[in-house]
């Protein structure tokens, strides 16, 4: 008799397992469309094996990115400071958190993040991986100031999210790890590769004489010498994603990378931002000190400040910089504006 009950119990358990398996939804792999120039010139983007891109994961990440439910009082989403029309940054020097508090760093634009091969994110490289980067702003008191446990609970009680998480990750118990995985998936789809200059490189358009001279200034070691840190026609990221002291200050109120590594040789170093889409991302520098591109160009031309960690690539520091002519400055600006990708900032898939 006992054996009979044991058999029946085993049978029902197996049936239960089988019905659960039937419910598991297999997400559809996401086809990441890589721009032609990226495919030709660069190594493959970084997609973690434990967080592959799926249609469901990306869609969920997008929904979360724009959902104010992630903030403490549900007044801000990621997009509040990372707006599509500004290449996923905002127009403020320092963004306001939900309590009206401001930070001390300019919000970084978000695009082509899967090609950050070292996977060090933020101005100071504090976060390793996009997933970890996405974790911090939600709970940061000067940003979204939420409690992750509360956020998880709100998402769990939401009429749609449990099903969306189940479809994206195979489980409906929502935690911060799954949230940040989804957001990171969406962020990896934010690809910008269709500026006028991209089209020029593909032979689809031509540059004006001003843009061409500006590009020459950018590439000329004896003039702008921008290419050593900010990419080139052979590196369409337009950044080296490395950390440099670009001569902003003689003394540092913000140590940047040095505060993370603890190495004084890293003091005053910040990540080179991409100059792609720079027309949309003012103000500039890690502290948003420059309101215009003209101010940025003037800084490198005659505004450099010496410090012990200033990057050796900063030329003619004792003279304040590379001393560009007014024409070269104007042409350099024209070239920089040719890196604007209007399709990217108006892409409905990113709104």
């Amino acid at each position: 008799m006992f054996k009979k009950y044991l058999f029946l119990l085993g049978f029902f358990l197996l049936m239960h397992c089988a019905s659960e398996e039937e419910e598991i939804y297999t997400p559809i792999p996401y086809n990441l469309e890589i721009p032609e120039l990226f495919a030709d010139k660069l190594i493959a983007p970084v997609i973690p094996t434990n967080n592959p891109l799926t249609e469901e994961g990306v869609a969920l990440g997008k929904k979360l990115f724009f959902d104010k439910i992630l903030s403490g009082d549900e007044t801000q989403s990621c997009a509040s400071c990372h707006s599509p029309k500004n290449a996923f940054t905002d127009e403020q020097q320092f963004s306001d958190g939900i309590d009206g508090k401001q930070g001390f760093r300019n919000a970084m634009p978000l695009f082509n993040l899967a090609w950050n091969f070292d996977e060090l994110f933020n101005w100071d490289g504090k976060e390793f991986s996009l997933e970890k980067q996405a974790f911090e702003p939600v709970s940061n008191p000067i940003e979204m100031h939420a409690n992750w446990k509360n956020v998880e609970q709100k998402l769990q009680n939401h009429p749609e999210y449990p099903t969306l998480f189940l479809q994206a990750f195979g489980y409906s118990e929502i935690d911060s790890v799954a949230v940040t995985k989804a957001i990171a998936q969406f962020e990896r789809t934010l690809i910008s590769g269709n500026s006028k200059f991209d089209q020029y490189l593909k032979g689809e358009t031509s540059l004006t004489p001003q843009e061409q001279n500006g590009f020459d200034v950018f590439m000329d070691e004896a003039k702008g010498d921008c290419f050593h840190c900010h990419g080139s026609n052979n590196n369409p990221l337009w950044t080296d994603n490395q950390f440099h002291n670009n001569g902003l200050d003689a003394n540092f109120s913000d140590a940047g990378l040095g505060a993370i590594t603890g190495d004084p040789a890293d003091d005053g170093k910040f990540k080179s931002p991409s100059i792609r889409n720079i027309a949309f991302t003012a103000p500039y520098m890690h502290d948003g000190r420059f309101k215009t591109l003209d101010e940025v160009i003037n800084h490198y031309s005659e505004g450099l400040q010496f410090s012990s960690t200033i990057d050796p690539l900063m030329k003619k520091v004792s003279q304040g910089g590379v001393q560009l002519s007014e024409k070269d400055k104007a042409d350099l600006k024209a070239f920089l504006l040719s890196l604007s990708d209007f399709d990217f900032i108006s892409n409905p898939a990113f709104k």
């Binding site: 010139k41 070691e221 052979n234 590196n235 200033i310 004792s318």
Partner: protein, 241 residues
């Protein structure tokens, strides 16, 4: 069919006692014999033959056509600051007498603009106005100038280019071959390839950083001098089996 079987038998008999070996290049750096690693960067602890005190902040270089007998690796980037590329292993090298050699930088034939994705991805390119292709070496740092003030240097090696007429560039291939000689390989082996960084500033051209410090890429004569000095930079060191 009989001929094929016969051929296989003969090959088996001839090679049965010669298992392939692995050869590993281990790249190290020194300053006139004092070892240099990334831990020695950002410190004015080295002095050039000309008397300038130097702090190294970035040093990465590419070797190409790295050959162990008939085995060849196309190119290899060594980045001392990031501790990458310090070793390069050749598997399945035939036993016996094998020559070892490599090229510093790229010969013109291999210095093809934009084709090496991994080098593009780390921004190792040379601008098109200088003929394109790739750096051979990026060596950046600071030196104490004649006023004992910190000054920057960018000792960048590329193919020499004369831009006197920008519409008619004149090139000189300043890559060079380093022949380490012939080795009798009997078992797995590691060969240290030493770069004496001090030699970049020494022989035959005693380098004056107060005169030649930055904007060396478009400097045709400076590139030839770098190439000349480089020929004394590399040697082989410890060999371990």
């Amino acid at each position: 069919m009989a001929v094929l079987f016969s051929s296989c038998d003969e090959k088996k008999e001839c090679c049965v006692n010669f298992e392939p070996v692995s050869v590993t290049f281990k790249f190290t750096q020194n300053w006139d014999g004092v070892p240099v690693t990334s831990a020695d960067f950002n410190d004015f602890k080295f002095t050039t033959q000309n008397g300038e005190t130097v702090s190294i902040e970035k040093l990465r270089y590419v070797l190409s056509n790295i050959s162990v007998g008939s085995s060849v690796k196309n190119y290899h980037l060594i980045n001392i600051g990031e501790n990458t590329g310090a070793q390069l292993t050749f598997e399945e090298v035939s036993q016996g007498s094998n020559f070892l050699k490599f090229t510093f930088g790229f010969t013109d034939a291999n210095n093809i603009d934009g084709v090496y994705q991994d080098l593009n991805s780390v921004s190792f390119n040379v601008p098109g106005m200088l003929g394109g292709g790739y750096h051979y070496m990026q060596f950046d740092g600071k030196y104490k100038d004649t006023n004992n003030a910190d000054a920057n240097f960018n000792y960048h090696a590329i193919r020499a280019v004369d831009r006197t007429d920008p519409a008619n560039l004149i090139f000189q291939d300043t890559s060079f071959e380093v022949d380490l000689g012939t080795f009798d390989l009997k078992s797995d082996i590691t060969i240290e390839i030493k770069m004496n960084i001090a030699e970049w500033f020494k022989n035959p051209n005693s380098w004056n950083l107060n005169e030649l410090n930055t904007i060396l890429m478009p400097n045709f004569e400076a590139q030839k001098m770098i190439s000349d000095n480089g020929k004394n930079v590399f040697s082989f060191g410890a060999i371990t089996e």
